[in-house]
């Protein structure tokens, strides 16, 4: 199915679900995180254009609600493995913007020591497992996190965020199936944003919906409008309750839309004319949420503007802090291949020395 048909043709502007238990404080916190996600992306795009970033810039424009809304339903002890478009979930888990900026800028004090890009880093204390580029690989890893949690009698839920493209990998199948067989509290969230790089979902999967895969694995499958942040939270809450109560794994398909290319260099020549604009005008998750907060009289324009100003100030000061740090020495590349107390660093061969 094309990304476009996800959208109900309606004259009423889209809002968010009213069926929710969220408090005013939580509504505003969600707003803060979803705005932070978009504004962080705007800064990284700016930095890229200023040539301050050497690596790729991947944004979540148009799909920020999925990561933020779902992660918001987790507890502190729960684990996530996000994708490149789930920076919102990383914020919700309590990772500071300065840490992620340090990663983007390749600073020596970044958690990966600048050995790896963007948010390819970990903070296990906060339940953030460092992802790798190979899609699907994090599902088996999260399965292992949960096996350990079971052996240690800890009550954790783990979430693997994947895209529509990931569902075509072998590790997706092996991981989801193994977790299902073991009845582990794994929640796999398929963010169906219409495209894997340039490949539309119809070339990724012949089924009408990805959530149908849940039947084959014998696990609970849930489908949600990924641009409705409140629905994302409520659906995830249900999934977390199911998983945490020992009923096994859950597969969630979140319907959303990727308005930017795979990365900043991608000109999206493969996208049909008008599709991006259509989503931008009719189904932007933040516009929808702002409309919801206003019409439901949860927050005033002033309150929202105040949050935006605070986030803007925070991000700029976090960026400044991150930018103060130095870049790594070249020789840092030799360390931590193995535990250097046992195996010496992999220093460059001294060719000219006799």
């Amino acid at each position: 199915m094309s990304a476009k048909t996800n959208l109900k043709k309606s004259t009423e502007p889209l809002s968010c679900t009213r069926e929710t238990s969220l408090s005013k404080e939580q509504f505003l916190e969600l707003y803060r995180f979803v705005k932070m996600t978009r504004m962080f992306d705007e800064i990284t795009v700016r930095l890229k254009r200023q040539s301050k970033l050497t690596g790729g810039v991947f944004t979540s424009l148009g799909q920020e609600a999925t990561a933020v809304g779902t992660a918001f339903a987790l507890e502190a002890q729960d684990f996530i493995a996000p994708l490149i478009r789930d920076i919102g979930a990383v914020f919700v888990k309590g990772i500071s913007p300065r840490t992620i900026f340090a990663q983007y800028l390749g600073k020596a004090n970044a958690p990966s020591r600048a050995t790896d890009v963007q948010f390819h880093f970990a903070d296990l204390e906060k339940g953030f497992v460092g992802p790798i580029s190979h899609l699907g690989d994090m599902i088996p890893v999260m399965t292992g996190i949960l096996l350990a949690s079971r052996m240690k009698k800890e009550n954790r839920v783990a979430v693997a965020y994947v895209g529509d493209g990931t569902t075509s990998t072998g590790t997706f199948h092996e991981g989801v199936n193994f977790a299902a067989v073991q009845k582990l509290p794994l929640i796999t969230i398929i963010e169906n944003n219409g495209y894997a790089y340039s490949t539309p979902t119809r070339h990724q999967c012949a089924a009408d919906n990805f959530v149908e895969k849940a039947v084959g694995y014998g696990i609970l499958g849930l489908s949600v409008d990924g641009n409705d942040i409140v629905a994302c939270y409520e659906t995830m809450k249900r999934a977390v309750e199911h998983a945490r109560s020992g009923k096994g794994s859950v597969l969630i398909e979140a319907h959303t839309y990727r308005r930017k290319g795979h990365a900043e260099h991608d000109n999206q020549s493969y996208v049909p004319n008008g599709e991006i604009e259509f989503w931008a005008q009719n189904n932007d998750p933040i516009n929808r949420y702002e409309r919801y907060l206003t019409t439901e009289k949860i927050a005033s324009e002033d309150e929202m503007q105040k949050i935006v100003a605070q986030v803007s100030e925070l991000l700029e000061s976090e960026l400044a802090i991150a930018d103060e740090a130095g870049f790594p020495e070249g020789i840092s590349a030799a360390y931590e291949v193995f535990d250097n107390r046992i195996v010496k660093p992999a220093f460059k061969k001294k060719i000219l020395e006799k």
Binding site: H120, I132, D137, I145, R150, E336, V337, I342, A346
Partner: protein, 335 residues
């Protein structure tokens, strides 16, 4: 206890030594667990973990679907949480199905600051048992060019137990290759110390002292090298030194260079195919760092560049034979 089942013959076979090593580690450290296909209820295809499930339960003897990527990935995830997984490949041939998780996740996690992977990935390797192209692999050269993975292959029962225990305690991922031809070989039966011991990873062993030439090898080929050395001593009066590498990554360069400096003639012997094999790396180390000590070019003896064939006649042709090692050594000594 199940781990010392075979009492009538003296000493332990190589497989019993590995079994005892894992059993002891699971007993002394409750974070050690086993994961793989058929390892729990069935006790493993080679029965290496038979009965473990009775003593440690299904939670620590995890039977998985046929999913090597999931086995490796789950081991990595558990390791991030402070557990010490011992993951089994039913045959090392199937390590190819876990290659991505090993080379991209396990090998790079520490380097990327994402957490050390203290995990053992073990399984039966090796040719010469008429296993055909998919049950006979030696996989070390696939991983030699991946930084971040240690590789170990024992050739004695003592080393097998000491190395598996060291591997489980090692803070980095260790690929542990067990030559299946050696598993129950009566010749390797050995009485082992009753007290706890390990064999340090990264250290080669001198399997036989000699002064005339060195054979640098590992795994089942250590036995071929020793047999060839006996013939060479008897028929040619040559004193051959045999170095059992035991650890394939990181290589014990010091031991390699020391034996070359002692005998001035080196043969590198391995069971995987010649081209791109670990012998090339060892030969290059010798050429670069001990050139002045050499009285002859380094000679490599390895299997032919073909898949491992099934028929005994063809597999014997494929593999290095004792007679070929003897001939190669004579050529090396004459040079």
């Amino acid at each position: 206890m199940a781990a010392t089942a075979n009492q009538e013959a003296k000493g332990l076979t190589l497989i019993e030594a590995i079994r005892q090593g894992i059993y002891e580690e699971m007993t002394r450290d409750e974070t050690v667990f086993v994961i793989g296909e058929d390892v729990g209820a069935y006790g493993g295809a080679f029965k290496l973990t038979e009965g473990f499930i009775d003593d440690f339960g299904a939670e620590r003897m995890i039977d998985t679907p046929i999913s090597e990527a999931a086995i490796v990935g789950a081991a990595c995830g558990a390791a991030l949480m402070g557990m010490k997984p011992v993951a089994e490949f039913q045959f090392i041939d199937f390590i190819s199905c876990g290659f991505d998780m090993l080379t991209n996740y396990a090998a790079k996690s520490r380097y990327r600051g994402c957490g050390a992977i203290q995990a053992v990935f073990r399984g039966p390797c090796g040719s010469g048992v008429r296993g055909g192209p998919f049950h006979s692999l030696n996989a070390e050269s696939f991983f030699l060019n991946t930084a971040g993975l240690k590789m170990v292959e024992p050739s004695t029962a003592y080393d097998a137990k000491g190395l598996i225990k060291a591997a489980i305690r090692d803070p980095d991922p260790v690929l542990f290759f067990e030559h299946k031809k050696l598993y129950r070989l009566p010749r390797l039966r050995e009485e082992l110390p009753t007290t706890d011991y390990i064999v340090e990873i990264g250290k080669a062993r001198t399997a036989r002292e000699g002064k005339d030439l060195s054979i640098i090898t590992f795994g089942a080929q250590v036995l071929n090298a020793l047999d060839a050395s006996d013939i060479l001593e008897k028929e040619d009066g040559l004193q051959v030194e045999v170095i059992d590498l035991r650890t394939l990554a990181p290589l014990d360069k010091e031991a390699i260079l020391n034996t070359v400096k002692k005998t001035n003639r080196a043969m590198v012997l391995h069971e995987s195919s010649l081209t791109g094999g670990i012998g090339g790396e060892i030969s290059a180390i010798i050429a670069e760092e001990a050139f002045e000590w050499l009285d002859a070019p380094v000679i490599r003896v390895a299997s032919i560049d073909a898949p491992v064939p099934f028929a005994p006649t063809m597999e014997d042709y494929f593999l290095p034979q004792v007679s070929e090692i003897v001939e190669a050594a004579r050529r090396l000594a004459r040079y």
